[in-house]
């Protein structure tokens, strides 16, 4: 009996073992074999006895009993019935763990905790590397000079800045950490995701500065985003440049998707472009959120223009095809110079989509006719219009790519990785597929931007600054 108690108290392999465990293992194996043999016999005789036994096993003291009034699945009901007499109370889960040393909580324990840790010899080499980086100025706010304010929102303020170390321009994103709920999710996601992403078509996070109430992210600075770029060239881009931008967008996206990271909020404002014409994905704050965001960092209403119809109709599915729809919309916008579906409400957005691509049917979108939201909108039956009529500057390969991006059936949409191999990009040559992740597409001499026909004044936006400008731009 005593031995039994002793055994019961053992919870883990981490505590010193006695032979009881070895015994129990043997016994377990025996019992396991016995039961299995028995089960086979029972099964042979058509008995269901063991299933019953299993049910009872799960019944008592289950930590996962269904809440009242919910989860009345047959499975849950079975379990619930069997331990109906056990009421669950909040106390069961909410409790102060009685840990080995149950001293009263000293009010200054957090400070103490911080102090102690400073004296601890740094165990990790990464730590010491960080220390040496900080000697030269990384991780310190005084390393960066704040210039103009670029924007402000509820969580973050963005400044243009300059690094004293490199003299380079940077974007400083200051995030306030003092909120009811602590550090904002968006900040945590953005930083932890970007730290693992090193790619020529993804904005580089240079440095993170953690002060008491504030987190400052130091990004590389890019003058333009795609929206401004389109405005600067009078919404008339060279179709060759469209192709180069598309390729870069897909390259960055394929890299993210290959790491199970979704962007979720692709739009021209989030695609930054520098003087060389390098395009980089930015604003990853929402990347992991599964819910459809309605407000941004800066508290602007999120645009619906690039959102796929499945999401507009309430789908909470969450996978890589979700980004591909937006890529199609952006492709169209670059080629035609106007947004593809500029709806201001969900209904208007869907209406614009269906008017151009046709109201979905069971053929184009299996299951759609049983979608309650779709039925409730009661859209008229539009027939699909040929895309070429709306984007006449696009060649037939381009139209084919666009068609494959703008499919109603999410799983049918072409993936970013596959899209890079699309014949539309054949004219860029073979070498674009062999680039290392961090190499810019412009490191290949055959890849050069052309002059955008709609561009007024100088050859390229911001070319007045000139000295980094590539000859090839002209």
């Amino acid at each position: 009996m005593n031995k039994m108690k002793n055994f019961k108290r053992r919870f883990s392999l981490s505590v010193p073992r006695t032979e009881t465990i070895e015994e129990s293992l043997t016994e377990f194996t025996e019992q396991f074999n016995q039961l299995n043999n028995q089960r086979n016999e029972d099964l042979a005789q058509g008995h269901l006895q063991l299933a019953q036994l299993g049910r009872e096993v799960a019944a008592d003291g289950s930590p996962v009993s269904p809440p009242e009034g919910q989860g009345r699945s047959p499975v849950a009901a079975v379990r619930y019935r069997n331990h109906g007499q056990r009421r669950c109370s909040m106390e069961d889960v909410s409790r102060r763990l009685s840990l080995p040393m149950d001293i009263r909580l000293p009010p200054e324990f957090l400070q103490k905790l911080q102090m102690e840790s400073l004296e601890l010899p740094k165990p990790l080499s990464r730590m010491s590397r960080r220390a040496s980086l900080s000697d030269i100025g990384f991780g310190k706010l005084e390393t960066y000079i704040k210039l103009d304010k670029l924007g402000e929102g509820t969580y973050a303020t963005v400044f243009k800045g300059r690094s004293k170390l490199t003299e380079n321009l940077v974007a400083l994103k200051e995030i306030r950490l003092e909120h009811e709920e602590g550090a904002p999710c968006t900040a945590i996601r953005e930083v932890s995701l970007l730290k693992n992403l090193k790619h020529a078509n993804i904005v580089t996070l240079h440095d993170i500065i953690h002060t008491e109430r504030c987190l400052t992210l130091v990004f590389e600075y890019l003058d333009n985003d795609l929206k401004q770029y389109l405005e600067n060239c009078g919404n008339l881009m060279s179709v060759h440049n469209v192709k180069i931008f598309m390729f870069q967008l897909l390259r960055g996206l394929a890299y993210c998707h290959g790491r199970k990271i979704l962007h979720r909020d692709l739009k021209p404002q989030n695609l930054l472009i520098n003087e060389r014409g390098e395009l980089k994905l930015a604003d990853f704050g929402l990347a992991r959120a599964k819910s459809v965001p309605t407000k941004t960092y800066s508290n602007e209403v999120v645009t619906l223009w690039y959102r796929p119809p499945d999401v507009l109709l309430g789908s909470t599915e969450y996978s890589t095809p979700i980004d591909m729809w937006g890529v199609g919309c952006i492709h169209y916008e670059m080629v035609t110079g106007r947004p593809m579906f500029p709806g201001s409400t969900v209904k208007e957005e869907l209406h614009l989509i269906f008017r151009l691509l046709g109201t979905p049917t069971e053929d184009t979108w299996p299951g759609i006719t049983s979608n309650e939201e779709f039925k409730a909108y009661n859209f008229s039956q539009y027939r699909a219009q040929p895309l070429i009529n709306h984007a006449p500057r696009l060649d037939s390969e381009g139209v084919d790519l666009l068609t494959n991006l703008l499919l109603y059936r999410a799983k049918g949409r072409i993936s970013a990785q596959a899209a890079l191999q699309h014949p539309y990009f054949r004219s860029l040559g073979e070498r674009v597929h062999l680039l290392p992740d961090t190499a810019s597409i412009f490191s290949l001499k055959e890849i050069q931007l052309q002059r955008d026909p709609g561009h007024r004044g100088s050859a390229f936006p911001h070319s007045a600054r000139g000295k980094n400008r590539r000859q090839s731009i002209f």
Binding site: I21, L99, L113
Partner: protein, 303 residues
């Protein structure tokens, strides 16, 4: 008569003795089962397509990050926190994460954050529980749509800690870990290996699903045991699946060679897991969906 596996071990180590969930109801319109678990059962065509497009690449990238995120002897430098205390804490976090309907992924991340923080900073025993909920909060902010609120988490600790303390500790943890939070988890690898298995020709979908459920329970259990912090998540995932197949006597078990680990290493990890299962049969049966628990009568039915 003494019954193996009936020790209700994790329970005696500090997990609540009674079921959770009923008192509070489910937060997000789901049952007491985590969303992750339910989602897994009704795997969508869209996710399957994404796996076909990128599964291999996801695996390679996570595998590449594994060693960077592996905690190394997290308790070696802790003056007060012991393996037993860690077990208590994690055994408490297990029902807590289920209570909120959180995914196994979130739980794994929380434990990873906890361990890596412990490896860098000595923690007083009396704020260890606060560290536990803080790690859970950070993990949820990363991967869940609706992280539990600070208020809810504090209430779970009987309000012995204040909001300000939790927020301070959150800042310290984020700073200490330098925002390196995207650790590869056992949950990811379980999903991956199971998906690969399903894609193979002649796959038995039923067996694959059962093995995945049982292995998820085993892996969840192993989080609470300090001895398993030395195993990489991909090794734990492969071994849990191997053990599950063995325990369920599957006809077409997962070919463990896809994990790339040598047989000896897999066998060692599987043996340790089997020992864990045998010590915690009752607790494990409570972690499993009932249809899977029914197939595991050897988990022990003593009470």
């Amino acid at each position: 008569r003494r019954r193996a596996g009936g020790a209700a071990a994790l329970r005696s180590a500090g997990a609540p003795a009674a079921p959770l969930g009923a008192a509070r109801g489910a937060r997000h319109g789901g049952g007491a089962w985590g969303r992750g678990r339910r989602r897994r059962r009704g795997e969508s065509a869209q996710e399957l397509q994404a796996f076909r497009d990128y599964g291999e690449s996801w695996y390679r990238s996570r595998k590449g990050l594994e060693s960077r995120f592996q905690p190394r002897e997290p308790l070696a430098r802790q003056p007060q926190v012991t393996a037993e205390a860690r077990c208590k804490l994690v055994s408490w976090l297990i029902p807590v994460h289920r209570h909120f309907g959180l995914s196994l992924e979130a739980l794994c991340l929380a434990v990873n954050i906890l361990d890596r923080f412990l490896a860098t900073t000595p923690v007083a025993a009396d704020c260890f529980q606060l560290l536990g909920v803080t790690a859970l909060l950070i993990a949820c902010k990363q991967v869940e749509v609706h992280p539990p609120s600070v208020k809810e988490l504090l209430a779970l600790c009987c309000d012995v800690f204040t909001r300000q303390q939790l927020r301070n500790l959150e800042c310290i943890v984020l700073h200490r870990l330098d925002f390196d939070l995207a650790a590869p988890t056992v949950s990811f690898f379980l999903e991956h290996f199971s998906q690969v298995r399903l894609e193979a020709r002649g796959a038995d979908a039923g067996e694959a699903a059962d093995a995945r459920s049982l292995a998820a329970g085993v892996a969840e259990l192993s989080l609470a045991d300090y001895a398993f912090t030395k195993y990489a998540p991909s090794l734990l995932a492969a071994s849990s699946l191997g053990l599950a197949d063995r325990l369920l006597r599957h006809r077409s078990p997962l070919d463990l060679r896809i994990s790339g680990y040598p047989e000896g290493l897999l066998r060692d990890c599987m043996d340790q897991l089997q020992l864990l299962v045998c010590l915690n049969g009752r607790s494990l049966s409570l972690l499993l969906p009932s249809e899977v628990a029914q197939k595991c009568p050897w988990l022990g039915d003593d009470r």
